[in-house]
Point group: C2
Chain length 347, copies 2
């Protein structure tokens, strides 16, 4: 299962706003299609947005002028336009910037050549993401034993990437290799990615799972019902402190108290070594109505009630047992070992 397909130069994707009720595949045929798909969260998940945007540009440029100067102007505007669909998504601007750089380095080529180059770059961004996921799944699945009962939060699966996923790929691979896994899925308020996306993905992949509300995890741990926790990450600081979906830190504290190993799964691109620790990671406050009105359609709180709605929290690295990456599993001391892994890469 993939969240996106690019076959015969045609880009199609699952409309994630329709999940889990319906699996609707849509075609992206223009820049405007792509913009609206990202804007409306039909396509979501940091790595997936990057790949999707890259392909979208490769489709858009087919309609641009054959005059090189005009083409380059149209190309620049298209990049800026697409970027603005989700201004905070780092992977989006990263992928577009990468394509832009490639074009600017090759302005000696003609328009047809540039088009081919853009498509080639989009394909390699895609391939790389698939490969990263495979590597994480391979490393991480070794941490899973037969019959493990695993807890996860939010969605870090194939719906969030162009490949098989991050944390959820580890779990799914673990199930295929070791068998008899049971996955508890936090529903993940306020946007319910666990209930809507992760539960759907696991069922699609025939991995046994049970949905719980976020506040039930502690009880499960108390009863000895959880062996391991795997979650994704939005950003990881140089010392291993990890920003991820709100509620992740809650689980990490509970895991510590109940002596349950707590694992992060993320590719190298999630590490931000410019930040010494998690206190430098900015935490976005989101619309109060995400809490007051569930999924924009069910009001649960008084109309004017004040709301506190942070999108992420930061888990201090001392609560993390290990970080599974595409370069292997990183154990404490994180400050030293993260650097070691990222330097290896540069060689």
């Amino acid at each position: 299962m993939r969240a996106l397909k690019f076959i015969n130069n045609k880009l199609s994707y699952i409309d994630q706003t329709k999940l889990p009720l319906k699996e609707v595949w849509r075609r992206c045929m223009s820049l405007e299609d792509g913009f609206s798909a990202i804007k409306r969260l039909e396509v979501r998940g940091a790595p997936l947005i990057g790949v999707f945007a890259a392909y979208c540009i490769s489709i858009a440029v087919k309609d641009f002028s054959l005059d090189k100067l005009k083409f380059l102007n149209q190309f620049e505007s298209a990049i800026e336009y697409l970027k603005s669909s989700r201004p905070t998504a780092v992977n989006l601007s990263w992928a577009l910037q990468r394509i832009r750089k490639r074009v600017l380095e090759n302005t000696d080529k003609n328009v047809l050549g540039l088009r081919r180059m853009i498509l080639k770059e989009a394909r390699s961004i895609h391939k790389e993401d698939v490969l990263l996921c495979q590597r994480m799944a391979e490393s991480g699945s070794k941490l899973i034993n037969k019959s493990d009962r695993i807890l996860t939060h939010c969605n870090a699966g194939f719906l969030a990437t162009a490949g098989e996923g991050t944390a959820l790929a580890v779990i799914t691979r673990g199930h295929k290799v070791r068998r008899d896994i049971l996955v508890y899925v936090d529903e993940t308020r306020p946007l319910l990615q666990g209930a809507r996306l992760t539960a759907w993905e696991l069922m699609k992949n025939k991995v046994p799972c049970k949905l719980i509300c976020d506040n039930m995890a502690a009880y499960l741990m108390q009863k000895g019902g959880i062996d391991k926790i795997f979650v994704g990450a939005d950003r990881i600081a140089a010392n291993g402190d990890t920003a991820n979906k709100i509620g992740t830190y809650n689980l990490a504290v509970l895991a510590k108290y109940h002596k349950i190993p707590f694992y992060i799964v993320a590719p190298f691109s999630t590490f931000d070594l410019s930040l010494a620790n998690g206190s430098y990671i900015p935490i976005e406050q989101r619309d109060p109505d995400e809490v007051r009105v569930i999924l924009g359609s069910l009001r649960i709180g008084p109309k004017d009630v004040e709301v506190f709605n942070p999108a992420f929290d930061v888990t201090p690295s001392k609560l993390i047992k290990a970080i599974v990456t595409d370069k292997g599993i990183i154990y404490p001391p994180f400050k030293v070992n993260i650097k070691k892994i990222l330097c290896q890469k540069k060689k």
Copy 2:
């Protein structure tokens, strides 16, 4: 504000499933009405259920046989039937048991006399509950300082009792006396009593509050944003272990980790000294659709996804700083001090 009225022998109550959108008052005119009101959570909150059930029996017996033997048979069946509407709620069986005992001690009376006695007993259960709430609010509010930021879970306010409430009465009284309190309200999935009821109550009582999702409490504590936690209780064992709404144990573990005092507020009737510790408290598993379909109207999970949905959890007494009761505040060692307080009562 009260959640229940008994005026001119007519029992009416706020249908709590309709809050916070509408304040709908309903009449309870039969045993079946009462059973369904409790079962469907239109009436909820341990002490309120007790008072409501007592009045409900006093209404039901009006339709019973005038033949004493038949009456007593019908009465016994009615008690058992009503008890089964919410098996974990100790106040429900406590209130019904109290009425039953009164009747069994007075079987020399005729049916009309027994009816009067039942009504009288229901009225005194009601009056006592109002008084208990007052006493808890008085004792507990002394634990609150000016400008405290307090977290609460579920609903332990006037909607949960026949009086001003338990934990929320302490907080509201604390605000009136000390001022500048800010209350963070856990939305309390799956049934969202925090968002629907507690936020509504606090706004009704003009106590400043902010609504959060259950998984955000840890982040608030990490940032030093919570000074104290007050929650109610469904049942307290002889050693102080406390069953309360699912998610309470989660908060207690977080409080321990962040060194935040965690208080239980409950009247003496919530204590069940027949249970040595919390492991004997039965935990009701509820309908999976409470999780999959929010408030019966918004589907969030795949149709057939399995669900784990415990209604309560048990907080071990070692995580509790003190228990605020109508007899005063009980500190550890709980096993000794709970007994002391409950024996005082018997004198």
